[in-house]
């Protein structure tokens, strides 16, 4: 198998020594079938053991190896060396504080994922001691939104989140939508106050970058636009004195 020399320009930051991040260059002999994660692993194993970054599965499941590759948020395990130029700039995901080198602080998003109540809420009792059957057509409505692996590439691509970190953001809102349109859920009106608030769906101006960079084709932008329609309908229902539609 042939090899190709790749010049990696990696953003480094040591919170104990550095005032601000800086770029460090590494020359890596890459094989044709390598993902960029393999090249970063090569740096760690052969050139610089101090480099810090997250990864786990190397197969687009764990969602931990998201980084900026030449300015675009991508999973490094899904981005192949053969598709990249000879010089590659690798930075930590944008819009997040840098913990160290390529590791970012995700506390804010974790809190938001909790805040949107991402679980089935029932007002009527759920069936006991039996399966909660759901027709396939009901499953197909929300299935794509269950594919999110929380890689946070969408947050990194979203300029609204970058400008206003209070914005709940694409992945958490898409997750809320996944439960809102689940036929077993009755918690839509309970989530509405969080989702339709100032920092909820209305902060989205449909740049659409979240869906373009999503490595799992979740399409969070679609979820957010549907939630805007839902939110407006619910607001009118409340204004007109109709009961909210929870199921």
């Amino acid at each position: 198998m042939s090899t190709r020399q790749l010049e990696l320009e990696i953003l480094r930051y040591d919170p104990e020594k550095d005032e601000e991040p800086y770029f460090q260059n590494y020359s890596v002999p890459c094989q044709d079938d390598w993902a960029i994660l393999d090249a970063v692993n090569y740096v760690k194993e052969n050139l610089d053991t101090t480099l810090a970054y997250r990864w786990s599965c190397h197969m687009m499941v764990c969602g931990s190896c998201g980084m900026m590759i030449n300015g675009d948020p991508k999973l490094t395990c899904k981005t192949f060396v053969r598709d990249l130029p000879d010089k590659v700039r690798i930075e930590p995901l944008e819009n997040f504080p840098i913990e160290r080198d390529l590791v970012v602080v995700l506390d804010d998003v974790i809190e938001k994922l909790h805040r949107v109540k991402p679980y089935i809420i029932r007002k009527d009792p759920a069936p006991e001691n039996e399966e909660f059957n759901q027709p396939r057509s009901a499953l197909m409505k929300f299935k794509q939104y269950t594919m999110c692996i929380n890689c946070m590439c969408c947050y990194s691509a979203c300029p609204q989140y970058g400008l206003n970190p209070e914005f709940i953001g694409p992945a958490a809102l898409a997750l809320a939508h996944r439960y809102n349109i689940d036929s077993r859920d009755q918690g839509k009106s309970e989530r509405l106050d969080i989702l339709a608030d100032h920092d909820g769906v209305w902060d989205c101006s449909f740049v659409g970058a979240c869906s373009e960079v999503c490595p799992k084709s979740v399409d969070p932008a679609a979820a957010l636009q549907q939630m805007k329609v839902d939110g407006a309908m619910e607001w009118w229902k409340r204004k007109m004195g109709f009961p909210g539609g929870d199921s």
Binding site: Y13, P15, E16, D18, E20, P21, G71, D72, E94, N95, P97, I98, E99, V105, P135, R136, S137, M140, K141, A157, P159, G162, L163, S205, F206, V207, G208, A209, S211, E212, D219, A221, A222, Q225, Q226, K228, V229
Partner: protein, 131 residues
Amino acid sequence: MSRNPYVRPISKTTWYLRNGRFRIYALREVTCLLVGFYSFLSIFALRALWQGADSWNAFLASQQSTPMVLFHAFALVYFFIYQTVGWFQLAPKAMPLMMGEKKVAASTIVLGHYLVWALVSLFLLWFVGVI
């Protein structure tokens, strides 16, 4: 080991120049200026109509000058076509359709919109006597 996360600054005034996606978005948002312009133009047209035939004919003549025709042509391409393509692409995202157990393909919904657009345009052209 102490934590000292570094927050990268974001320019509030030039962030939209950062990549192609943001630039396309900014170009879409700038069309609001044309919306504003055409709102004022409609008000001027109504005023001219209210003031009588002479005023209305003067308004029509002002719109037929070469710079105005060029401007309207530019607005048609940039504003109407760009916005139409953008909003038709959004339609299947905002209003997904289910046919039984399957989602209707986004391309089918978008094509439906173009079809309705063409039919409405043909009707309007027939209605005003162009065809």
